[in-house]
Subunit: 251 residues, 2 copies
Amino acid sequence: MHFSSTHRHDDGHTERTFTLGGIPGILWTPPTATPASPAPLILMGQPGGIGMARMHPRLAARARSAAAQGFASATLELPGAGDRTPLPGAAEARAELGRAIAAGAKPSEDTVDRLILPLLERAVPEWQAALDELLGLPELAERVGFSGGIIAIGVRLAAIEPRIAAAGLFAGSYVPRATMADARQVTIPLHMLLQWDDEGNDRAMALDLFDAFGSAEKTLYANLGGHTGVPAFAGEDAARFFARHLHPHLD
Amino acid sequence: MHFSSTHRHDDGHTERTFTLGGIPGILWTPPTATPASPAPLILMGQPGGIGMARMHPRLAARARSAAAQGFASATLELPGAGDRTPLPGAAEARAELGRAIAAGAKPSEDTVDRLILPLLERAVPEWQAALDELLGLPELAERVGFSGGIIAIGVRLAAIEPRIAAAGLFAGSYVPRATMADARQVTIPLHMLLQWDDEGNDRAMALDLFDAFGSAEKTLYANLGGHTGVPAFAGEDAARFFARHLHPHLD
């Protein structure tokens, strides 16, 4: 991992850009994070097809808020996003998905698989490699949460990555069949947001997914509104979920 | 309304029993409630068939916690509960419901109607009459929430009683057909708890009910577990919901 820039913000938190095997990423750390008092880390997922540069204002706002609560945050450019090589077949699958949604139809399982699986299979090992490097930093604690982004990636990481202790998922993207199987393997605490009228999601599938998780603590937090209408209080409740699980000594 | 006893608890909140037209009730007020600074009031619903005396420890614990946040709480003995005259047909309908649940079957709409409707039709005007009296007390503000209990009663009150500004509902009881129609008339902010594996409830019906509400702000908060397994953090999030809507000047 190679750090390429460091910016200290007015409120004291630090934003560092890095590359890892050519993949760009960002790490935000709170001023409280020191080797003597390492900070829990939240991996911030990203939506597909937007890219880290365009997502930066939203990611930075979430990271600032997390830093104020003592959390570090990190994100990675997704495969095929930003300046990374486009994934084969992704543009076609995305166009098919868009046509199905515009026609008020449910996209086929095959379309969803072709859109999400190539992304999932590349992204998961990349996030794990980033975790290897990030957790080598003395100011970060091995108490890791995963938050948001493409839900298939969050569910797979929650299922297979033992360093992730809690996951805040956003049921705001279509779910490939493989994700239902992953969900049954998940046993960590989960907090799943669902926007009840999300135009780019399938509510019944999201409810089935919630049902499938093997976790002993899981919360579905559904609010009225569309994909971008998550109310501010839902973000605050998600923050409390992470505080409960990643700052256990503060309970 | 006739107050029959007053008890001041160690933490400063006051518990008063009263009767209203022969119906027993309890009012808890925080020490902060004065005519100069009246407290918002939360009407605490009760489950059917238990009665206020047996429910007292749970109601008092919730009222104590609400008082610590500056809320007054009140409850009324439900029709047919405690020492009140049993409702005609209720015992038979309850036995039918129990048999259906024990057999793993969905109780018929007719059974649910015969169990809930007589209770609903008597309870709602009683709670409204109690509100008339309670809001005449100078230490109570006309900012009222309804919380818990039989969901059909909460939904009807939320639909027709303009003094109720926010409702925290618990989808933990069967819903008569009339409640679906009531739900469409509800426009106040709602926070609905659902226990995902509630043995005495119908999950699909609860989700349909959530969908039916006409409110612009509504949150479904579902947690893993059975009827009595509501996690402590769900109670805290419900408290924040009431604080947001009934203590708006503290925002």
